[in-house]
Symmetry: C2
Subunit: 79 residues, 2 copies
């Protein structure tokens, strides 16, 4: 089973990396870019076929390591 | 129009960050994790409604700034 995890900075937290990239894009002539937010994208291979167990385990991984839940949100898909 | 960009490390390139996270997950008891690959996830707000123009522009942004195409792949969706 494969898990795809998206970790994004919460809406009310300043995304400094995103602001920097937005500035760089503007200076390169991409004036149409309004806002940029940058997050992480993780692909995990899981050695299990139990979907509900995998869901609980990936949730635990996100809470404990993959996301800093003070400033980040996460969501994941299982395939 | 909103663009969602995924930048991932190419399959034949060693993902050191992914290896480190895999090691950390194992040491935390998540033994079922086989492989971890980490990429970037970007959300861009674009001030345009022309889909084909947006597609060309986002492709240019990826090629020029957002992805290092020597070691990274990218793909994007427009909404």
């Amino acid at each position: 089973m494969k898990a795809t995890v998206y970790v994004t900075i919460k809406q009310n937290v300043l995304d400094v990396q995103g602001s920097a990239v937005k500035g760089a894009l503007h200076s390169m002539g991409f004036q149409e870019v309004g806002s940029v937010r940058i997050g992480k994208y993780l692909e995990l291979e899981l050695d299990t076929n139990d979907r509900s167990e995998a869901e609980a385990r990936v949730k635990a991984m996100c809470e404990k390591l993959l996301a800093n839940t003070v400033i980040e949100d996460y969501r994941f898909d299982l395939v």
